[in-house]
C-alpha cells in the first residue's frame, strides 16, 4: 500500500501565473519551484472526504499570501470585537443615563402629583382651598368605586393616613376608628413613597349648626422604581 500524494501549486514567471496540478512525490514537485522562491511549504492533513485508507494523506500547499489573509482576518475579527466591546461599554453608560433620567422624571412627577392629587375634584373638599381632602370622598374612593380610576392616576399608589390622634397600628378603612384610606394601589412592590400633609374635612351637623370638621392627615403617593 503506497502513499498517495497530491499537490496543488501555482507557479509564476515574472508577471505571469499558471496553475499546474502534479501527482507524484514531493521531491518532483519541489523541482518545479524556482530555488530563489521559498514561498511554499507543505502541510499534511487527513482528508475524510476523499475516502482514503488509513495512512493515506493529501498534501496541500498554502501560499504565504493566504497566510497573510488569515492573519488579517484574525486582526479584523480582533478589531471588530474591540469596537464591539467599546460600543457595549458606551451603551451601558447610556443605559445608566436613561435609567437615571427615568427615575428622576418619576420622582419629579410624584412630587408634583402630590398637590395635583390632593386638589383633584375626586378628593378635594372645597375647590377654593388647596391641600384639603374630603373625608366622604376618600371613603367612597377607597371602596370599589376607585376601580374605574385604575389608569387615571399618574402614580403607583395613593393612600391617606389620619395622623392625629397618634396611632400605634394602621387600621384600614372602612372600619370603626380606622386611620388609613387606600385610594389606589397598582400592586407593585418596588415602590418609593413621597408624602405631604393635608387637611381631612367633612361637613358635620351638631346641635342644629353645620360646620366643617377637619383633622390632620398625610397624603402618601408611591412611584415605581426601575432597577
Amino acid at each position: 500500500m503506497g502513499i498517495k500524494h497530491e499537490q496543488s501549486l501555482t507557479t509564476s514567471k515574472k508577471g505571469t501565473s499558471a496553475l499546474a496540478v502534479t501527482k507524484g512525490r514531493p521531491r518532483a514537485v519541489r523541482n518545479l519551484i524556482p530555488k530563489h522562491r521559498k514561498t511554499w511549504f507543505p502541510r499534511k492533513r487527513y482528508d475524510e472526504s476523499t475516502n482514503l485508507k488509513e495512512g493515506t494523506c493529501r498534501k496541500t500547499w498554502f501560499p504565504r499570501g493566504q497566510m497573510k489573509i488569515q492573519q488579517m482576518a484574525f486582526m479584523i475579527v480582533a478589531v471588530f470585537f474591540f469596537f464591539a466591546l467599546v460600543g457595549l461599554f458606551f451603551l451601558n453608560i447610556q443605559l445608566k443615563d436613561i435609567k437615571g433620567g427615568s427615575a428622576q422624571l418619576q420622582k419629579e412627577q410624584a412630587i408634583s402629583s402630590l398637590k395635583v392629587i390632593a386638589d383633584m375634584p375626586e378628593l378635594n373638599y372645597d375647590s377654593s382651598e388647596t391641600m384639603t381632602v374630603d373625608e366622604d370622598k376618600i371613603r367612597v374612593m377607597s371602596g370599589n368605586f376607585s376601580a374605574d380610576y385604575d389608569l387615571f392616576w399618574p402614580v403607583a399608589s395613593i393612600g391617606i393616613y389620619k395622623i392625629y390622634p397618634a396611632f400605634n397600628a394602621v387600621k384600614k378603612c372602612p372600619a370603626s376608628n380606622c386611620n388609613f384610606y387606600e385610594i389606589y394601589d397598582n400592586g407593585q412592590t418596588n415602590v418609593k413613597t413621597y408624602s405631604t400633609y393635608v387637611s381631612i374635612c367633612k361637613k358635620v351637623k351638631e346641635l342644629g349648626s353645620i360646620y366643617d370638621k377637619c383633622e390632620v392627615g398625610k397624603l402618601v403617593v408611591g412611584v415605581n422604581i426601575n432597577e
Partner: protein, 313 residues
C-alpha cells in the same frame, strides 16, 4: 509575493475595511437616532410634568411658557372612551433627509385635558389653563399653542381675563403682530376664527355659551371651553369634551355616594336625585349637546347652593 495575491489581499482588505466602515457609520447613525429618541421622549414626559402646576385648581387660571433650543414639533393625539387620554410626543427638526425626525415615545396623560392642534410647530410654546366647572369643578383645561392670536371685539370680562393672566401671545384689539390669528367676537371681516355668544338666561355674558367657527367648522362651547375651541382642532376638541363629560358623570356618581354618607351622619341633602339624573345626562354627552346641558347644570348648581349641607363648595 505575487501580483495576483497582492491584489487579492488588497481587494480583501478594501472589502472588509469598507464593510466595517459602513457598519460603523450605520451604528453611529442608529446610536444618534436612539439618543434623539431618548431625548424627545424625555421632553414629552417633561411636558406632562411641567403642566402639573398649570392645573389652576382653585385659581382663575395660570400661564407658562416652554422654550426649546430649536424648532420642535409637539404632537397631541387624543383618545376618547371612558377617561381617555392625551398622547404627547415630541419631534425635532432634521438637518438631513426628511424635514422632521420621527417623534420620540409618546407620554400618555390620562388626568389632564390638553387642547391644541394635532401638530404644533415652534420654538416657543405658550401654555395656560382655565378651570372647567360643570356645575362643580371637573378639571382644568390646558391650552398649548405656539401661535400668536389677536382678539378683536372681545367683551370686557374676557379682555380682563387675558390681561390678568398676562398671556403675551394673545393681544387685545390693536394687533400689530404679523401672521397673528385673528379671533373676532360677534363676527367681522378677515377673521380666521369667529366667536358667537348665545347665552340668554342666567349668564354673566352672552359669551358664557355659544359657538366658535374655525375654517367653516362649528364647535359648541360652554364657559372656558371657548378658549379650548379657539386653540384646538375640532378632532382634539370633540375628543377632550367627551372625556370631560365622562369625568363629570363619574364625579356625579361619587357625589351620589357622598350624599348617602352625609345623610347617615345627619347632614341631610336633597341633591341625590338631581345628581343621579345629571350623571345620566353627561355620561355619554358630546360637544354637540353641551350648550343644552348648561341650563340643567345651572339648575343643579342653584339647588346645591340652597342646601344647608351642600354637596360641593
Amino acid at each position: 509575493m505575487k501580483k495576483a495575491q497582492f491584489n487579492f489581499v488588497w481587494l480583501f482588505a478594501l472589502f472588509v475595511g469598507g464593510a466595517i466602515l459602513v457598519f460603523a457609520i450605520f451604528g453611529a447613525m442608529k446610536a444618534g437616532d436612539t439618543m434623539r429618541f431618548q431625548s424627545d421622549t424625555e421632553i414629552a414626559k417633561s411636558i406632562s410634568i411641567i403642566t402639573d402646576p398649570m392645573q389652576a385648581s382653585f385659581g382663575e387660571g395660570s400661564f407658562g411658557k416652554i422654550t426649546f433650543s430649536q424648532e420642535t414639533r409637539i404632537n397631541n393625539i387624543c383618545f376618547s372612551g371612558q377617561f381617555g387620554k392625551n398622547d404627547i410626543s415630541v419631534a425635532t427638526k432634521s438637518d438631513v433627509g426628511e424635514e422632521w425626525n420621527l417623534a420620540g415615545g409618546a407620554t400618555s396623560i390620562h388626568n389632564k385635558y390638553i387642547f391644541s392642534s394635532e401638530k404644533n410647530t415652534g420654538e416657543e410654546y405658550y401654555v395656560f389653563s382655565k378651570p372647567f366647572d360643570f356645575p362643580y369643578e371637573v378639571s382644568d383645561l390646558i391650552f398649548l399653542t405656539p401661535k400668536d392670536y389677536c382678539f378683536i371685539g372681545a367683551p370686557g370680562d374676557i379682555a380682563d381675563e387675558i390681561i390678568g393672566l398676562n398671556i403675551p401671545n394673545i393681544k387685545i384689539e390693536n394687533c400689530t403682530v404679523a401672521d397673528a390669528i385673528k379671533v373676532c367676537f360677534g363676527g367681522g371681516s378677515n377673521c380666521d376664527i369667529e366667536v358667537y355668544g348665545s347665552c340668554s338666561s342666567g349668564c354673566n355674558s352672552a359669551y358664557d355659551s355659544g359657538t366658535v367657527v374655525k375654517d367653516s367648522v362649528v364647535m359648541n362651547y360652554v364657559g372656558n371651553l371657548m378658549y379650548a375651541a379657539i386653540f384646538s382642532d375640532k378632532l382634539i376638541y370633540d375628543c377632550n369634551v367627551e372625556r370631560l363629560m365622562y369625568r363629570t358623570a363619574k364625579i356625579a356618581e361619587e357625589l351620589v355616594s357622598k350624599t348617602d354618607l352625609m345623610d347617615i351622619r345627619g347632614c341631610n341633602t336633597n341633591m341625590k336625585a338631581d345628581l343621579i339624573m345629571w350623571r345620566g345626562l353627561t355620561l355619554n354627552a358630546d360637544s354637540g349637546g353641551i350648550v343644552s346641558l348648561r341650563t340643567r347644570a345651572n339648575e343643579v348648581e342653584r339647588k346645591n347652593d340652597r342646601e344647608l349641607c351642600s354637596v360641593w363648595e
